[in-house]
């Protein structure tokens, strides 16, 4: 074996270890979702699954009771509806506003531009959870607790800075001459943006969109404070429905977790191409 082969083996070996480290918790969640509670709680742990079943999913979705812990099924469809409404709406607004903002920062010069940009980015340094109390107090005063609008507002605020940052980098990559040609070609500024600059930054906007969506879809801490009932509870918050005073229905919770992961996975794969070009393209020279 020469040095290069040894090197290769080492690289593969480390890569595999790393992947195992990253994947195991996720795999464990998936496995747990298909196993009976006895297996999950067994000591010593049962590593190789013995009997897999779909009972948790049946219970969760259709309220079947056999084999489950006998607790009434959680309103997962309401949660799903809330999650979808909140994630899609907040993503749409964040991307719309953020893209306009990013375009503004990339293309226009105004006083203190760099300071404003820094300020917007600085908002991301504040841990979201530290905002939960102030937000809760404000929202309770204006009646936004337990509403879609309230949670959407929070997500929009969380996601706009990142969207601005990402799309700003993208618009900077597009030569200014592109829109200038379009304008001498007979376009208004808006037409030039619509026909030329927007299609050219599609990857960036798609990346920004998927990130915003994932953040909204997966967020737990903030929403758990703001959502009180089935009116606004999202799937992630719904996970806590599986805990009772003394027991935790681990398989049920994991089944819901799997249910949460699937749409996110599908979406990520769908825009994967954009995501990769998006992050490299926007980032390298930005």
């Amino acid at each position: 074996m020469n040095k290069k082969q040894i090197n290769n083996i080492l690289i593969w070996f480390s890569a595999i270890i790393l992947i195992i480290l990253i994947m195991t918790p996720g795999l464990w969640v998936v496995l747990t979702a298909f196993r009976p509670q006895v297996d999950v709680m067994a000591k010593p742990a049962v590593w190789i699954p013995r009997n897999l079943n779909l009972i948790q999913f049946e219970t969760m979705l259709f309220g079947g009771s056999e084999g489950s812990m006998g607790r009434s099924p959680i309103p997962v469809l309401s949660y799903l509806r809330n999650s979808l409404i909140i994630s899609f709406t907040s993503t749409f607004i964040a991307v719309l506003v953020g893209t306009i903002g990013g375009y503004g920062f990339a293309r226009h010069n105004f006083k203190h531009k760099n300071k404003y940009f820094l300020l917007i980015m600085l908002t991301r340094t504040i841990p979201g959870i530290s905002l939960s109390l102030p937000i809760f107090i404000i929202f309770s005063k204006i009646g936004l607790i337990d509403t879609h609008i309230g949670i959407i507002l929070v997500f929009v605020a969380l996601n706009i800075p990142f969207t601005i940052w990402l799309t700003d980098g993208f618009f900077r990559q597009i030569p200014r001459a592109m829109s200038e040609v379009a304008m001498t070609d007979g376009c208004t500024k808006l037409q030039a943006f619509w026909h030329i600059e927007l299609p050219l930054s599609r990857s960036g906007i798609a990346s920004a969109g998927i990130f915003a969506f994932l953040i909204s879809w997966n967020e737990y801490a903030l929403v758990s404070n703001l959502a009180r009932s089935t009116d606004s509870k999202t799937l992630t918050v719904g996970l806590m429905d599986f805990t009772a005073q003394f027991t935790i229905n681990w398989p049920g919770m994991c089944a819901l977790a799997v249910f949460i992961i699937i749409p996110a996975l599908i979406l990520t794969f769908m825009v994967q191409k954009h995501l990769v070009t998006g992050l490299t393209f926007g980032g390298v020279k930005g």
């Binding site: 030569p175 200038e180 040609v181 304008m183 001498t184 070609d185 208004t188 299609p199």
Partner: protein
């Protein structure tokens, strides 16, 4: 009719005045080249004509219509950019037809005009390709095609050839000239390359530091430079330029260089200079020739100097030698071998020696 006129036009970037109250009349169907070093205001001027920069002062008219407050799209001008700026997500055909589509023309007419333009520029076979599949020269052609398809009143070219390699640049230069003959529309062309300016222009505008140094035909500028800057800028190799002061020598006004070399003031300039005046005198490489291999001019001043370096170019040889401490270049049209350190007698043609006042930079 599309003459273009700039009247007292200025452009400020913050406190910097990039263009300083320039006046310029561009005649209908003229090929006008704006040339100058970078930062001279030539691109800003062009962009103000296009409407891509605000006009901070003065008036720009195309035809008889004031353009100051019109959007680029309302001016009926086409611009070709240095980096082509083709729309990467559209095919060549869509690139060419984009402006017509925006203007709301019928599909058949768009197709007809796109094919006509593609025919003129010989890019018909690339119509279905994307810009990324084209070579530099082909992209340049598409950019020009996109400009002509609109049948604008004025074409604006912003250094369109600087991204091409030397060979392609020469070829495209010829094509631009040919294009001008075919479409016969007013062209305003910006470049920093004096060769492009000389070969393409009907008239050249030389700019420096935001002002116009001189306007004229290529030969005008070459033969009668109005300023020291124009003299050194136009022509290749650059005109030799030597600082001197006017003294009286043997009852005649002469020019004395820093190194103490004394050259008589040319006869026709004897009355235009005065003793003590600081000047620069310039002469082109072909106006100082090695006596042995060249024809002695009628009004010559001779000197002896050794060759620093010789560059044989086939039809001519450039000889670098010293004039006192200053290196100058001489152009010899005789195919003779000249080596470094050869000592040669040179004759300077005083009839073709230019004098410039050192303070004002103006020709004397």
């Amino acid at each position: 009719m599309a003459k273009v006129s700039l009247q007292g036009v200025s452009k400020f970037y913050g406190k910097v005045q990039a263009v300083k109250k320039i006046d310029l009349e561009i005649i209908d169907k003229e090929f006008l080249v704006l040339v100058g070093p970078s930062g001279c205001g030539k691109s800003s001027s062009l962009r103000m004509i296009a409407g891509l920069e605000e006009i901070d002062e003065g008036v720009i008219k195309i035809g008889d219509k004031e353009m100051n407050n019109l959007e680029p799209r309302e001016r009926n001008v086409s611009m070709v950019f240095q980096n082509y700026a083709l729309y990467p997500h559209m095919t060549v055909e869509e690139n060419l037809g984009f402006s017509l589509k925006i203007a709301g023309l019928a599909k058949t007419e768009i197709e007809e005009r796109v094919h006509e333009a593609a025919g003129i520029l010989d890019i018909t076979e690339f119509l279905q390709r994307k810009p990324s599949q084209l070579s530099g020269g082909q992209r340049q052609r598409v950019a020009m095609g996109r400009a002509i398809v609109r049948r604008p009143d004025v074409f604006l070219f912003d250094e369109p050839l600087s991204n091409l390699d030397a060979k392609l640049r020469n070829q495209m230069r010829t094509e631009i000239k040919r294009l001008h003959q075919k479409v016969s529309t007013t062209i305003v062309y910006v470049t920093h390359d004096q060769v492009e300016a000389m070969t393409l222009a009907d008239r050249i505008v030389i700019m420096k530091d935001g002002i116009i140094e001189q306007i004229g035909t290529p030969l005008d500028l070459f033969e009668r430079p109005a300023t020291k800057f124009v003299a050194t800028f136009i022509g290749s190799p650059s005109m030799n330029m030597i600082k001197a002061s006017i003294i009286k020598h043997n009852d005649k006004l002469s020019m004395k260089t820093k190194d103490g070399i004394i050259v008589p003031v040319p006869k026709d300039k004897q009355n235009s200079v005065s003793e003590g005046q600081k000047i620069s005198f310039g002469f082109r490489a072909e106006d100082i020739v090695p006596l042995k291999f060249g024809q002695k001019p009628s009004s010559a001043w001779e000197m002896q100097s050794s060759v620093n370096l010789a560059e044989p170019l086939g039809t001519e040889t450039l000889i670098f030698t010293n004039f006192g401490e200053i290196e100058i270049v001489s152009r010899m049209f005789t195919p003779e071998q000249v080596k470094s350190n050869d000592v040669l007698d040179f004759a300077l043609n005083l009839d073709r020696t230019y004098l410039f006042d050192e303070n004002s930079g103006l020709a004397i």
